[in-house]
Every structure is written in C-alpha cells, then in structure tokens.
C-alpha cells in the first residue's frame, strides 16, 4: 500500500475491549468458547429432535473414554514440542504398542500383580523415551528423524514379540474394569457415570504435567531451552539433560497410555498404537490445536486438554448427527476445519493486535 494511506488496523485496536482481544488472540479462551457453542448447539438440536436424540451428559461422559489416551499423548507432545529445536515425538504410538505387549506379558502371562506390572510398564516406556532423549539431546540427532526411526523399530518389535498375536488372557480381559464408568463420590448421583480411566490415569497425568511445567524449576528450564537454547546454556542450564528428560517423560506417559489401551481393548494388541493413522499424529494435532508453538517455548496444559475435549465431543456429536459413512467422514472434515480455522484466526488477530505486519 502507499505510504500516504492511513492504517485502519491501528486506531480501532485501542477501542476494542480486552475481552474481545482475549477471545481472538488467546487460543485457550477461543477453544472454551467453541466448546460451549458445540455442546449448546448439538445438545439443543438433539433435544429438539433435529438430530438423533441422546447428545446428553451420559453420552458425553461415555465419550470421555477416548479422551484419556488422546489427551495423555497430547501432553507428551506438549512436553517434547515445548523443548524446542524441532522437538516432536512420532514414536509415542509405537511405544504404546510395544509397552502394551510388555504389559500383556507381565500381567497377562507371567501373572505379575497389576500395580507392579503397571509401574514396570511405565518404566519401560520411560526407557524407550530415554533412547529418543539420548539420541536427540546428547548425540544431536534431529527429533523428527530419531522418533521416526524408533517408531518404525518399536512398531515391528511389538509385532514380532508375540508373533503378532494379541494377548487376551483372563487377567487382561478383566482389566476392562479399569475403563468401566463409575459414579463420582458424594455428588455422584447428580452426575453421569464417568469412565474410571479419567480418574485413574487422565487426571493424575494432567496434574503431574501441569505441576511440572508451570510450578517447578524444571518447568522453567524447559521453557528456557524452548525459548532460546543458546541463551539457556549460557544461563547455566544443563540443556542436554533438560531436553533428554522431556523425551523420557513422553515415553513414561506413553507407557501409561499402553496400560489404558490394554484395559480399554481388554487385550494387549501389537498394533494398538499404530493402527489406522496411529496415535502420534492425532496427539500432535491436539497439542498444536491447543496452542503449543511448534517452535517451542509456548504452550499450556489447559489448552491441550481443552483442545482434545473439543475434538472428542465434536466427533461424538457428528456420529449422532450424521448417518452412515457420512458421519465418520465428516469427522475428518471437522477436525481439519477447526485446526486451520483456529490457527488462522489467532494468527491474524495476534498480528493485528501486536501491530507487526
């Protein structure tokens, strides 16, 4: 534009109320709004009988069963992506498969007590993560390559370890109890039943990750290396250890997710984490939708959690609203549209408010 024209973008910016600005520029707030709209609209349509009945609290809480693994892995991605330097973990799905099989052996075949088996599985996942971490942080491999390689490797290990047969012995099948829906204590009778996994796995993971990221000094180191790795090492932070640890954390979470999936499927499946489009890409998508900056240093646990919740309830709604193959296909469209829409909106408004052209 010509130098003589006046910028519209500047003047009105002042008048805008902070609420509008917050809504447009803050991803988490935007997602909350979308979430309310979603539940309102689908709930309304469903109650009014425009779409199939039953988009109600019971259904929504039943759908939460998918929220558990998805959110947990998205949190794993949060840690890794936040650490910057192209941090990303394509191997989480493969770790879920492999760790799941290990868990299947320990609990389903060798009859290890449940708790011990779970702990061992988490540790195993952490070790897989450690492999990624060492290669990335200490040997300087690009995260994309390392985790792509370990993804391939662990995927095939998961297949051969029990020559591609799932483990579904009695103790494993009984695990389905872990994913059963339960009534909340005290206020429970007023609320729908909630899948137990939410309490056993999701909420603890959420709390731990939130605590580590935003309350501990380690979290500070994490933000530091993600924001400026060089400056971090000049500031006396052990960037290698800090970075390696996020991959260990991601691995540990994947190990826990392995237990979740095994209990949910009532069997340890060699392909549980890689079937279809696998678990890694959706997890990364949730993290990104939740406002985690792919360049590192920016991201919040709340954003990621809400993003996952939005998509899970959106998908659930679409299944009710649309018959036949249409429904499942539209889920793809909705995810894509929401992701791009949110990113574009926040991107444009951020530039608008910060004034950089």
């Amino acid at each position: 534009m010509s130098a003589t024209t006046t910028h519209e973008t500047v003047a009105p910016a002042k008048e805008r109320t902070d609420i509008v600005k917050l809504l447009l520029t803050n991803r988490t707030v935007l997602i909350i709004v979308l979430l309310l709209l979603l539940v309102g609209i689908f709930g309304g349509l469903s109650a009014a009988g425009v779409i199939a009945p039953g988009y109600n609290s019971d259904y929504l809480s039943a759908a939460l069963i998918n929220l558990v693994p998805l959110t947990m892995l998205a949190l794993a991605q949060l840690l890794v992506i936040m650490s910057g330097k192209g941090g990303i973990d394509l191997s989480v799905g493969a770790i879920v498969s492999l760790a799941g099989m290990i868990f299947g052996f320990m609990h389903g075949m060798w009859g290890w007590p449940l708790l011990l088996a779970i702990i061992a599985t988490v540790i195993f996942g952490a070790l897989c993560g450690l492999l990624n971490g060492v290669l990335v942080a200490y040997l300087g491999y690009p995260p994309l390559i390392v985790t792509l390689a370990t993804y391939y490797a662990m995927w095939s290990l998961a297949l051969v370890i029990n020559n591609q047969k799932p483990i579904n012995t009695q103790p494993i099948q009984e695990l389905y109890g872990l994913s059963k829906a339960v009534e909340l204590p005290l206020i429970g009778q007023y609320l729908p039943l909630v899948p137990m996994g939410v309490f056993l796995f999701l909420i603890p993971t959420l709390l731990v990750v939130w605590f580590v990221v935003s309350k501990t000094t380690y979290g500070r180191e994490l933000y530091a290396i993600g924001t400026n790795d060089t400056a971090a090492s000049w500031a006396g932070i052990n960037t290698q250890r800090t970075r390696a640890l996020v991959y260990v954390g991601a691995g540990a979470i994947s190990g826990l997710v392995a237990v979740v999936t095994v209990s949910q499927f009532a069997s340890a499946r060699p392909d549980s984490g890689v079937s279809g489009n696998g678990m890694a890409l959706p997890a990364i998508t949730m993290a990104v939708l939740g406002g985690v900056a792919i360049t590192g240093g920016i991201g919040t646990v709340a954003g990621v959690f809400l993003a996952a919740l939005l998509i899970v309830w959106l998908n659930a709604g679409i299944l009710l609203a649309f018959e036949g193959n249409n429904g499942t296909q539209l889920q793809l469209f909705a995810l894509g549209a929401v992701l791009i829409g949110a990113a574009l909106l926040n991107g444009i408004t951020n530039r608008k408010y910060s004034g950089t052209k």
């Binding site: 534009m1 130098a3 408010y353």
Partner: protein, 522 residues
C-alpha cells in the same frame, strides 16, 4: 527539560529524499510520531536518540521494511510511495539494519548478491559475482578466502562488515547504516569511514545511526536528533559538541560520571589464568583479577578477547594452561560448573546468547540461578522471584511498567540491563562481562558503567572483555591489551587513548612497550 536548540541547518536545492509527518505505531507503542526528515545529496546525515527513540523505525520506513501509518515521501522533488524493501532497492535505497540481515548457512559470496544475482542467461554467473565480491571485501581488508566461507562461521564484526559490503554493492543513491559501528573496532570503523567518505564524495547520501556520539564528529555533516519518537530537528554538526548533543538526546543536562569514581581495593586474587590457550583462538594468556578491581581485556575483534572471557566461563574449550578460582584449581566444563564455583558471565551477544525474547523480565532474571528459587527442592518460588526482579529493576533503573513485561518489548539498553541483572542475582565472587554496553545508548551506557563500579565496590572481582576503547579507558583499573590472541601489554588506569590504540593495532613494537607501561606507573 529546557535545552537551547542550536540553529537548524539551512537547506538549498531539492532534497534527495524528504519525509513529512510520518507516524508509526506498533500496537500500543507509538514508535515515531509526525517525524520530518530531509536528506540532501552527498551528505552524511547522522541520526541520534536514546534506545527506543525511533531511529530504527524511521529508517526501516525509508527502506520499505515497515509501512508508516501516516506521512508522505518525496524523492528528488517528486512524491513517491515505497511499497516494499525490493521497491526501495529499485529506487536506489539500500540499508544495513541493526540486526544483521545475512544468511548464516550461505557463503559470503552468495549473500552479498542474494535477491539480485548476476546472471548469464537465467543461470547465476558465479564467476562474475565472485569477482565483484572479492573487490568489495578488499575495501574492508577482508581476504578473498571469505567468499566461500559460510556466514555463520564468521565473527559478529566480520558479519557486520559483510552486511556493509552488501549495502555498498548496491551502488545506491541513499545508503542507510543503522548502528554499523556498534560491534566494530576502531580500526574497522576507519575502513568503514573511508568507504562512507568515498561514497559521499560520489554524491551518495548516507544516513548514519550510532550511539557512539564522538565518532559522529569525524564522519557526519549534519545530525537529526530524535526523542520519544519525535524529530527534534536537524543541525550542522559543527554547531554541536558531544555534550550538547547528549543534552539534546536526553532532553536535559546530561553529565557523564567522570571516569570511574571507584577506588581499586586490591583484595585477594579471585581469578587467575596461567598460560591459558584454546586452539587457534588464543594462547599464553596469563592474568590475575583481584576482588575490588576491574580488569579490562581490550582488543580488536578477532584478537580473541571474547573467547578468553568465555573460556573462564567454561564456554570455550581450554587446550593448554590452567585456571584458579578463589585459590582453588578451576577447569569448568560448562556454564553451570562455572556458576557453582562462583563465577558469572554476561555473554557478548545479547539477542543470541542473552535474551529469552518472549518471556517476562522476571523470568529473564531468575533463569540464571534457578537453584536459588527452589522450594522443597523442586518447586519454583515465584514470590521470591518477583521480589528479586523488582529489586533488580529498582537497583539497575530498568525502564519498564512491570517485571511481567516481555524483554523483547524493552529497548536494547534496558534489555542489556536485565541480562546483566541475571548475573548479579547470585552475588558472584567473579563477574565477567563481554561487551557490556554494546549497542546501548549513552545514558544507559553510563548507568551500566556505574553499576560495574558498584559491583566492584561490593567486593566482587570484575573482568571486562570489550572492543570499545572509550569504554575500556573509562572503567579499567588495569587495562590488558590482547593482540594476535595473546596478552600483549598491560596499562594502569589513566593511560592515553593513543598509546592503547597503538599497542592494540600493532603500531607499537615489543621494545617500547616496557617503558611505556613504566611511564604509566611514574
């Protein structure tokens, strides 16, 4: 506030370039307001102002890197509008920005002509291009071998010179230089001045931004003063002096604290280097730093001053020799080791090695010593962090609304103070500072120097590595000249600029050096 303005400079003939009533806003920040600026053919036109006064923004607008919100341009008498950087280049406006605009992974030879490659057919004419580059580099005494070097492998100063060479290669009518001298040594600055004078003689108009007021009197014909985004006016340099110029900038009486008030208390030796060497960077460096004294390592860039400092902080591998800290043998492998041993360091490159750009000030201060902010071993003590940050902001007079402000929204001077504050949190026994006032305006610079004295008076041992001679002379209790990667000679406080320069640039032979140093003692 009331500072008597000298007579405005008189304008005859049509300006090469003129802008009127230009304003630019970044969100809430009013970078420049209603600025007027007139550039005559063949003049070297200085622009001065404190950090954040609006200098960079104004020239970015002239060079098409930013759009103004309001204002009109005239070039050679006709009104023009500049749509983009390339549009400006086509009109003959070339700029060297404050932040180097080079491509680290590409060779120097490619960098200089990137965007307007010389082609034979549609294919790049490497041979021809290389020839031009070699000639351009020669003007700065840079060797032919540079042509094939990756930019990321060059020192900051070398990169700066490459950017300047790039700007010169445009054969522009208007050449803009934003703080080109900030990281150059006086020798390099001389090369720059020669080039600038030659261009001016050829009728090129040069806009020259600098925080080093003294050098303006060597190079500039006229000077435009900016304050809080406004242009105060344009004056003939001859009607001004360093002090009157400084007064105009800060809009009040500015008196620099006369050379370091503090008295060296020769306490115990805190840090000592014995025959230290690091690969090709430097060798046989031996020196002691005592508590309560400021030792300055001065040398031209490439002389290895910065590397020596980095070695003491564990950021530069030591290949020979040894170090002692507080009397104990000391060989840090990492910055954290150095910190634990009681040594803190301000890195030379603020933006790359110092700033966590989009993080708050408090974050940027506490990040250097997180172990001090532990609760129960793991939890971050945010209340303590806030207290410390507020104290530092007060103590260092950092201009900011709050400790929650992002450091990227601070001016260079203030950003620099924040990074320095980071090093003070843990009250180090030894404080090492590399280029402490690089690219910082005269006011902030003075405050930083006061700060150094103060830290020193509180008993710390201070080692400063700088390539800014004025700074070296001002704060040094002992001034060690580094040349060809080794300690060449040492001066006491009060030595003359000429002698140090002679020693550093090699106009001084091994022989005279001894009695020179003696001469100082007497």
């Amino acid at each position: 506030m009331a500072v008597a303005l000298p007579p405005p400079r008189r304008v005859e003939g049509t300006p090469r370039f003129a802008l009127q009533g230009v304003s630019k806003r970044y969100g809430g920040v009013r970078a420049i307001r209603n600025a007027d600026f007139t550039l005559m053919p063949g003049e070297v036109h200085a622009v001065v102002g404190e950090n954040g006064a609006g200098k960079s923004t104004m020239i970015k607008i002239i060079a098409g890197a930013e759009f103004p919100d309001t204002g009109t341009f005239e070039m050679d008498g006709e009104s023009v509008s500049i749509r983009s950087a390339s549009d400006a280049l086509d009109k003959g406006i070339a700029a060297v920005y404050q932040e180097a605009q080079l491509f680290g992974q590409l060779a120097v030879g490619e960098n200089i002509f990137l965007g307007r490659e010389m082609t034979s057919g549609s294919r790049i004419d490497w041979a021809g291009q290389k020839q031009r580059v070699v000639d351009l580099l020669a003007a700065f005494g840079l060797p032919e071998s540079f042509v094939t070097r990756k930019v990321e492998e060059l020192s900051a100063a070398e990169q700066q010179q490459v950017s300047i060479a790039k700007a010169l290669s445009h054969d522009a009518k208007i050449l803009i230089l934003d703080e080109p001298s900030a990281i150059l040594t006086d020798a390099e600055i001389e090369n720059l001045f020669t080039a600038v004078r030659r261009l001016a003689a050829e009728g090129v108009s040069v806009i020259y931004i600098s925080h080093r007021l003294d050098e303006l009197f060597e190079i500039a014909d006229v000077v435009t003063v900016m304050r809080d985004g406004e242009t105060l006016g344009t004056f003939d340099i001859d009607d001004l002096s360093v002090s009157s110029l400084a007064d105009l900038m800060v809009g009040g009486e500015f008196e620099a604290s006369e050379a370091s008030r503090h008295e060296p208390t020769n306490g115990e030796v805190r840090l000592s280097l014995k025959g230290l060497a690091s690969g090709k960077r430097f060798h046989d460096v031996s020196l002691d730093v005592r508590s309560g004294e400021v030792v300055v390592l001065y040398g031209l860039v490439g002389s290895g001053v910065a590397d020596i400092a980095a070695a003491a902080y564990g950021k530069q591998p030591v290949t020979a020799g040894s170090m002692e800290l507080m009397g104990k043998p000391y060989s840090p492998k990492s910055a954290s080791e150095a910190q634990r041993a009681g040594l803190a360091m301000l890195p030379a490159n603020r933006k790359k090695e110092g700033m966590f750009s989009f993080q708050p000030i408090a974050f940027n201060i506490s990040v250097g010593s997180l172990n001090l902010f532990h609760k129960f071993g793991v939890v971050m003590d945010k209340t303590k962090e806030k207290v410390v940050a507020d104290d530092m902001i007060k103590a260092l007079a950092i201009k900011t609304p709050s400790q929650r402000q992002k450091i990227s929204a601070l001016s260079g001077g203030n950003a620099q103070k924040v990074v320095i504050a980071r090093q003070l949190v843990d009250k180090p026994d030894v404080l090492v500072l590399a280029e402490p006032s690089q690219g910082v305006d005269i006011g902030a610079k003075d405050e930083i120097h006061k700060l150094i004295d103060q830290v020193c008076d509180d008993g710390a041992a201070v080692l400063v590595a700088t390539s800014d001679l004025m700074e070296a002379l001002r704060i040094a209790d002992r001034l060690i000249v580094i040349r060809n990667g080794t300690t060449f000679t040492e001066f006491e406080r009060g030595v003359s600029q000429a002698k140090v320069l002679a020693a550093a640039s090699g106009a001084l032979s091994e022989g005279d050096e001894m009695q020179l140093a003696k001469g100082e003692d007497a």
